[in-house]
Amino acid sequence: MISRRDTIAGYLLLTLAALISLGPLIGVVVLALGEPGRVGIKLDITQATNFGNFADVWEKGDFGPAILTSFIITTTVVVVSVILSVPAGYAFALMDFPGRTAIFALLVLGILMPLEAMIVPLFLDMRRFNLDNNYWSVILPQIGFSVAFGAFWMRAFFVQSARSLMEAAWIDGANSWRTLTRVLMPLARPQMLTLAVLFFVWNWNDFLLPLVMLSGSDLQTAPMALVTFEGARRTDFAYVGAASLITIAPVVIVFILLQRSFTRGILAGSVKE
């Protein structure tokens, strides 16, 4: 059935698609290693040896503190959100309590809602309670958005695969907490990992929320540092390229290492039941 010609054509097409995806990024690597200053606009792979650009940019763009800030914010959000999502998804999936469906519906709404829809009052309220301009002003809303998806995601898993196990555990006399922590969570590890990867990518890349919340402070996240740096040194092409790479590096590394978990997350939506 599968002809050789089809397969070769398949490889060619996919390789072309992959090249289109990677092309601009490869271009930026060459750019970032080029000679600093305006000459950097000419892409010349033989000149792409200026590894010092990264150190310069790290220093000039204050990327050290920015990456640290991003890490503090993102890891907190990831850890807390996963920890909160699991029991919530568990309860929505397997427990019966009044208002369950309504609460779940409201929560799911949060997956659809863009941050733009609440950024204004969020900012006003944060400032009113003096929460703006610190880590929490970014972390708390990010957790709020993350658990909306997280509870939904974990619920889908528990609904599909945990019912009979849970009932068995109950028959053995385990209470609901013990059932979750001892029986179900070990099973749900891959799902939790997927969730963690998705949370990491989304929240690391988030720009509008930190832009609004941290603008009155010294704190800036990596994407903010990039935008600031690009604005100030737009004509230093090699530097701007290097700054872009510094900003995306953590996400790219996490993504490549945990590629399976990530794609499972994205593709899962289409899994047929």
Binding site: A93, L94, P98, E116, P121, G241, V252
Partner: protein, 309 residues
């Protein structure tokens, strides 16, 4: 947060009712499990959302004066050409973020459905990468590529197409499509990977049956591939359309809505009105309309997906 996808496909489905609980526990114990997540969500997502709707009926800077103006902010959105154009731009971007990637994806997925590809992980990684990296970085990178003396124009000149070269992001006609093409670049790999995964799950007998019935490639596509990809298409549409309708980072970094108002989009206007000109109510109204549009679009897609069953 994107990935609204799953909500539509899996979430829309009612659960078979697990009317059970662990022995000796009250029914209400479920609240304890959802409480922390629900509280944070309510406080930092839902309450501000309601507050935003409330604010949209006022005019003022949010600090010293707020004046009730009824629906005036919404009337503005409907009548003011700049505000209205923001939504038209967002819809135009859907073509680039959604329709073109899906067309490409369908074409390739159909062409590839019979080939057996090894090294899927590598291709997937490459195809997903644009979707994973920060939009701000993507914007910075493409701003360079599209610059008047950037690589794109240099390339066009090198291959004798210099007459096509232009200041892409400063051109009233081309700025929005240029931003759109960036969206196409971000989305096409994701959509392709999604559809490829889907098409490989379509049982081969369906194709064989179609062929036995004398179906040509087009009929085969209509009768087998398209219905077989229903879920994947819904996911792809939801992901890409939501991204197209939001799209703050890219616009903020690449064009700030310029030249003139040629690339102004609703999310950018929310930011600009709230934080640059202190029109809190107008910004809130814009945000509310944006939510409604996003929800409406998602419901439409979900319904279409279900209807095709």
């Amino acid at each position: 947060m994107s990935l609204s996808s799953v909500s539509v496909t899996a979430g829309g489905r009612p659960t078979s009712s697990p009317r059970k609980r662990a022995p000796g526990e009250p029914r209400s114990i479920g609240y304890l499990y959802i409480l922390p997540a629900a509280l944070i969500y309510a406080a930092f997502v839902f309450a501000p959302f309601l507050h935003s709707i409330y604010l949209s009926f006022f005019e003022g800077n949010g600090i010293t004066r707020m004046e009730f103006v009824g629906l005036a902010n919404y009337v503005d959105i409907a009548t003011n050409p700049t505000l209205r154009s923001a939504f038209f731009h967002a819809f135009e971007l859907i073509v680039f973020y959604s329709l073109i990637p899906i067309a490409i994806g369908l074409l390739l997925a159909t062409a590839l459905h019979r080939s057996r590809i090894r090294g899927v992980a590598f291709y997937r990684t490459a195809l997903f990468l644009p979707y994973v990296i920060a939009p701000t970085a993507i914007a910075v990178i493409w701003r360079w590529i599209l610059a008047p003396r950037g690589p794109l124009n240099s390339f066009l000149e090198a291959v004798g197409l210099g007459f096509l070269a232009r200041p892409w992001l400063g051109d009233f006609t081309w700025a929005l499509p240029s931003v759109g093409m960036v969206g196409t670049w971000i989305m096409f790999g994701l959509v392709l990977a999604l559809l490829l995964a889907g098409v490989q799950k379509i049982p081969n007998d369906l194709y064989e049956a179609a062929r036995l019935d004398g179906a040509g490639p087009w009929m085969e596509f209509r009768a087998v591939t398209l219905p077989g990809l229903r879920y994947e298409l819904v996911v792809a549409l939801v992901l890409t359309m939501t991204a197209a309708l939001r799209n703050f980072d890219i616009i903020y970094v690449m064009t700030s809505g310029g030249p003139g108002n040629a690339t102004v989009v609703p999310s950018y206007l929310v930011y600009q009105q709230a934080f640059k000109v202190a029109q809190i109510g107008a910004a809130a109204a814009m945000g509310t309309v944006l939510v409604l549009v996003i929800i409406a679009v998602n419901l439409l897609v979900a319904r279409a997906g279900r209807g095709e069953r």
